[in-house]
Symmetry: C2
Subunit: 560 residues, 2 copies
Amino acid sequence: METKVNGLENDMERLKIQGPTNPMVTPLLTDQYQFTMAYAYWKAGKHLERSVFDLFFRRNPFGGEYTVFAGLEECIRFIANFKFTEEEISFLRSSLPPTCEDAFFDYLRGIDCSDVEVYAVAEGSVVFPKIPLMRIEGPIAVVQLLETPFVNLVNYASLVATNAARHRFVAGKSKMLLEFGLRRAQGPDGGISASKYCYLGGFDATSNVAAGKLFGIPLRGTHSHAFVSSFMSPDEIVDKSLHSSNGSGTCEDFVSLVQTWLNKLQWTSSLRGIFGETNQSELAAFTSYALAFPNNFLALVDTYDVVRSGIPNFCAVALALNDLGYKAVGIRLDSGDLAYLSCESRKFFCAVEKEFGVPGFGKMGITASNDLNEETLDALNKQGHEVDSFGIGTYLVTCYAQAALGCVFKLVEINNQPRIKLSEDVSKVSIPCKKRCYRLFGREGYPLVDIMTGENEPTPKVAERILCRHPFNESKRAYVVPQHVEELLKCYWRGGSDKAREELPPLKKLRDRCMQQLDQMRPDHMRRLNPTPYKVSVSAKLYDFIHFLWLNEAPVGELQ
Amino acid sequence: METKVNGLENDMERLKIQGPTNPMVTPLLTDQYQFTMAYAYWKAGKHLERSVFDLFFRRNPFGGEYTVFAGLEECIRFIANFKFTEEEISFLRSSLPPTCEDAFFDYLRGIDCSDVEVYAVAEGSVVFPKIPLMRIEGPIAVVQLLETPFVNLVNYASLVATNAARHRFVAGKSKMLLEFGLRRAQGPDGGISASKYCYLGGFDATSNVAAGKLFGIPLRGTHSHAFVSSFMSPDEIVDKSLHSSNGSGTCEDFVSLVQTWLNKLQWTSSLRGIFGETNQSELAAFTSYALAFPNNFLALVDTYDVVRSGIPNFCAVALALNDLGYKAVGIRLDSGDLAYLSCESRKFFCAVEKEFGVPGFGKMGITASNDLNEETLDALNKQGHEVDSFGIGTYLVTCYAQAALGCVFKLVEINNQPRIKLSEDVSKVSIPCKKRCYRLFGREGYPLVDIMTGENEPTPKVAERILCRHPFNESKRAYVVPQHVEELLKCYWRGGSDKAREELPPLKKLRDRCMQQLDQMRPDHMRRLNPTPYKVSVSAKLYDFIHFLWLNEAPVGELQ
């Protein structure tokens, strides 16, 4: 197992001091049954038995064939600070039956995660069903208390990171993607987590100021419709002066300069007939916004009518700014036919560039932001559009197309005894044993297959033939000769000791890893329509063992 | 306007001390553009202009015709504590363009909500599209900063409360509904908010311990599959003794007592052939759980096979407990055909009651908890089932059927000037003016219609004929003679003064209000299939004004 020791003390220090991003993530953020079980384990003298649990999901979300793993750092922050307060202990005492013995609460009082080990896939990795994202080992009563918060912290993080990656895939690498979802997110840290993990999954910036502060994510945002309609007319603008960009002079009446440009636009032959009188409250709002942010003028142009009011008003202000040496940033479209309106806007900008000889005006930025999702991005691409940046909210952050990922947390071994969980539904049978997991890469550099083995089986070797079997379907198997082998599960927590533990990289690095991993995938696994499933397998030895255990545990039926 | 003054000081005190439930709800939990706009308002000298915003939604969720309003108390807690820290101010300074003037940050430093007023519908009320749930008045720069957090706090709260109410409607009043969603919720306080607002919407209990502690919601939970598979066989149980319920004696070997009952069950004529050898790890787990919680024995019976293992094992333990004077609570089914399995379980329990003369054994509690939602509850009802309690997780808390409610926050007046936001989509045109809203009730006690009027129009009077108009469709109008009139928007925040302010009732009271309001609705608005839309209207005077303003603001087209 690869290990890194450098810088770990600082890393540990950071985790211990910071704790989980959300202070509500406490040892009580778990299901009541984790405490009733803890009591029953304790009462049976089983609470210290060494157990191994796998955290995994069974199906990729959004009808796709891949998932981005996220949420690991928050899990580690949580266990690094895992300790009950006296207040929590007394609440637990009151919420459990009065027959529960005092000594149990003394036991709870003493619990921390110094006996726990966490192995995990690197955060930001591309992952697949059935392969453990995390393997958690420790005293069974303690590890079960971690189940609910771990699953909670990983489920949504991975889901929304995957959603972001899918939006990036459709939008293409050249577009700017902005996460605008805070107001529609499922609660305050639905919003904050969304901003964090959308950035990890490939977004460029967020509108969420708190997330910008917490995680250093670039912030974006200009103004809303309310700003536009809060103005009545340019007459109300009192301070009309604006210094030129290089400080060489001052325009004393920027409002008149804008009006002059609006008149010129109106009488420009190539624009004639497109618009008549534009909305005056909008013109006032744009002018005011430009006076406040002459270097950052980006205007929302659809409050009244994009083509007949918003675009001409925007261009008049942008041209006035240009006179003073400022370069406008662009427009935002928030309603209507975005393909059509973006093309019309582009035409208008190009006509302005040509008519008035303003270099670069035709390349003015166009942001679109109206209920976008994978489907609308795809449709826009097919229709042709002129949008440079997409602001995406509701569908992205609430994962509207599939609002939950089904991560589970299953016991696979206790006291060195492998355990299996059966089910009438084969896809719900768990894969027993403490396992190692590898990703095998083919000649072209693509990952070919993930394989799980028993803990003590030899590591698959490069250029050696390995039999990979479907865990439950005996006829599905293949020999693979890997060109490169990567072990997936590495140690991220070893009882609080900083020996031989992986670093938790900063968010920007997780994002880079995610981008790089997505790039590395074979394209047919990534496409939106009928993607090829990526293969997940077990070793021949593990296969045999699963089926031995299965037969051993399942009751034999009697048909009558 | 109705007002209550009693107990308000304590109420205010509570809010001021506690702040928002989630400490991450700070003034930075907003969109970046609220700050760029604040700067532009400030720069234009407009920041103190008195503005009125409406918070409302445009469409009921889940294909239904009603919504439960929730999230108000969190909004009020937020503004009661609204104040920037120096650290936040310096972050804002670094995130805004360097050209922003220092004096603006001094202004931000001084901001609080002492100039803000909030009017709202009572939390837990049944509400409808277009009617403001909240009306927020104050200096425009401040009120805009509140937009994102308010919409965030209301959107998910109302969505998940509505989802809970819909699940309650399908399940019926006699069933116990348990919220089990924490692990699948969208982040930690997705989970905590879900527990709170599902309780408000009619659930009885939650598995979420943190929510139990924060809000006093009853907690439920017993054990998981992992608990069952962590045992190997009854041989490993060391302390086998159990006192009888009344303390009169002790059974020294409860494990053998259970085994005796299992043998008896196997040789009972009416149960013959149903099961052979049951799973020993399951039997050990059930026995251990009963030893820990003899008064609260509820077992998860589907780890191996419900009918051939789980139910017989459960009954053996329950009968052994019965010998000692304890009454088992019941079983939980977490997979398979819940209708069939619950009926088979019930049959088994009734046979046991009859064969062994254990009164009430046939009425043993049956809880079901496998990926339940409105549809599966409905299907179970149609098939017939024997479930007493439903544990509902993923579909409930993530609002899987519709993961977002589209609450918006629109400027309706500034400096006493009504404002309108136009859109190519009529349903997106906002209703201008500072308004009053009323619910008019008919003869049978059902609400008939909600009506919005201008602020200074007379209050609709009982027994007087009132013309109610659709806000945008001129042909839709009706005269209503109300038997009872309720004003909907009441004052919940008046700049921090506790004069004439509504109380914020505790969660249990919000839940009662919600239940009572849902009961009061005409059944055809509530049904799942093709419900009748509830009518939302404006006064004749407001109708005329909307259309005057609309024509005034919209640019006139020129077809060529």
